[in-house]
Amino acid sequence: MYVYDEFDRTFLQERVAEFRDQVARRLSGELNEEEFKPLRLMNGVYLQLHAYMLRVCIPYGTLSSQQLRALGAVARKYDRGYGHFTTRQNIQFNWIKLNELPDAMADLAKVGIHGLQTSGNCIRNTTTDPWAGAAADEVEDPRLYAEVIRQWSTLHPEFTYLPRKFKIAITAAKHDRAAIRVHDIGLRLHKRDGETGFEVMVGGGLGRSPFIGKTIKDFLPKEHLLSYLEAVLRTYNLGGRRDNIYKARIKIQVHEMGAEAFAKKVEAEWAEIRDGALKLDEAALDAIRDRFQIPDLEALDDQPAELASALATDDAFARWHANSVAPHKAKGHAIVTLSLKPVGAPPGDATADQMDAIADLADQYAYGEIRVAHEQNLTFPYVRQKDLPALWAKLKAIGVATPNVGLLTDIISCPGLDYCSLANTRSIPIAQKLTERFADEARIADIGRLHVNISGCINACGHHHVGHIGILGVEKKDEEFFQITLGGKGNSKARIGELIGPAVAESEIVDVVESLVDTYLNLRTSPAETFVAAVERLGIEPFKERAYAPR
């Protein structure tokens, strides 16, 4: 992973000092809440239903074991002993006191992390493939470019007070594990005639007006990455709407102007700056590339005896292996996903003790590196295959080896009304009830790949639009109701799910999901046809019919 140099460290110290001063001025009344709000937000501090919430940035989802321990320590010292991993590869703490925030930030800065730009109308954490650097299907490691963007976007003097928040995602793999088409800017690294460059998409996003990003450039040579981003951001900063918070994202500007006209404007702006100081020569890239510590992987063979014998003799291990272990680009290694979705618990939560234990296991088995995936799980990107049986036993002991990755109970959910001041309904209890109904591991394995996404309001933090089954909480006469969409997808073939009909009451939502699943099981051509493929083939009608049939 990228290791901070003296400049990065100095910057972070200065950021901590600045925020400490701002908190002091707020507490003394020198700053009013309206003035303090954009300043605290840019440090990841929200005011929620019950307390301040701190969202800590995990740059492109990469953590060292030391950083994970520091997060555990913050959870223990300043919060109630747990943290919540988010869909943007960050972590949030829900019970922080304002006067203790500067100390929590200072503790985190010691290991090179902070709440910087995890909120506010600025460029947020650039997210990427949690398997970056390990995936067998990638062109190049996208983290180099994510880090280049992190540095360029850090306290950018022109783009810190944008019309609205701005999210960039980047992938370099054939399979898009970063949902780039539902970001303000999506970047797909690819090669053309031996040269590396980016397909650039703009204007994707979920929320109350979901849009799939549109490609405005097929191939941007990598040396122009920053000048082109600056051209897009300038076009947005000057022209994005500021009259209505719900129309202020770049997706609305792109939609209202039309993607072609928007692209033209960007192109004209870019022509003015493309050969300026932002151009990335090899020396600039090397200076950052050299700060990445890439583990020196042992030369090993695939399918070692330890693995083969455990697979042959232990069904539970074999089930977990089939579900949570993915092929690695290096022989004898594997990528392991740690499920933070145990039956009956809030999706994405981890306790301080779990964080410590996971950090220790990362040191012992995974070259000390951990990733956060946008599905709210953790990943060990470098594990020796021969260690898998021993690692599994230890992951199981701390409750992070539920073999449900990518399956029905691997639910993405927003915090909902249990924490959030914007929510209409609760989301976490729905997720908990679903995991309880579908607790049988063999059953969910038979159902196969199925993404369930839950949002407690129209802001869509649970990405319900791109869930194979999307659940959206709405309030009707003070009661919680839920709308259901089918057929959404967040990958390279991204599409928005289709509403099946009227919202259903909270007491029925689990039964309705079960009847949708049963309909699929009855109608699938074979177990190879996934739920979402069946929805695409059949349309929503047969599902709708069963969902609303009297039970």
Binding site: D5, F7, E14, E18, W152, L155, R242
Partner: protein, 167 residues
Amino acid sequence: MPLVKNGALAADLFVAVADGEPLPDGPVIVSAARLLADGPALIIRNGEIGVAWPNDKDVAELQPFLSRLSLITLAFPKLRDGRAYSQARLLRERYGYKGELRAVGNVLRDQVLMMVRAGFDAFSLEKAADVEAFGKAVATYSVFYQPTGDHRPTVRDARTAPAATGG
């Protein structure tokens, strides 16, 4: 509102003149509409001219007047409205404006360093206490990641400089 220019408290010599009012002697600030309508007549006037430019108007329209303008004020109606940062960079870096560039509106110490980096050299501060804090505020950071028209050395310059030994 106290005015800080080039880092120090300064007297504001410019007088804002409403549209239609006769121009007094001495430095004046006119509206964008008046400048665009009466531009040629205004800039031959013997006296300094400034313009109050709104943040939703393309600064490219100022190009014909730039060499004769002594002051451009750019507006921050709210702290969170950041359009004028882009306008300032364009005026300085693309159109080569050399006169005074003044930030007006909801201008707090928390933004002045970014404003300096974008090209502002004068600040109409909203709070009296921020005058004293100004020097400290512009020194909040010593490390910069982005190249802008203020030509402060960036982290990249430091990293790739031949003498750098790295950290």
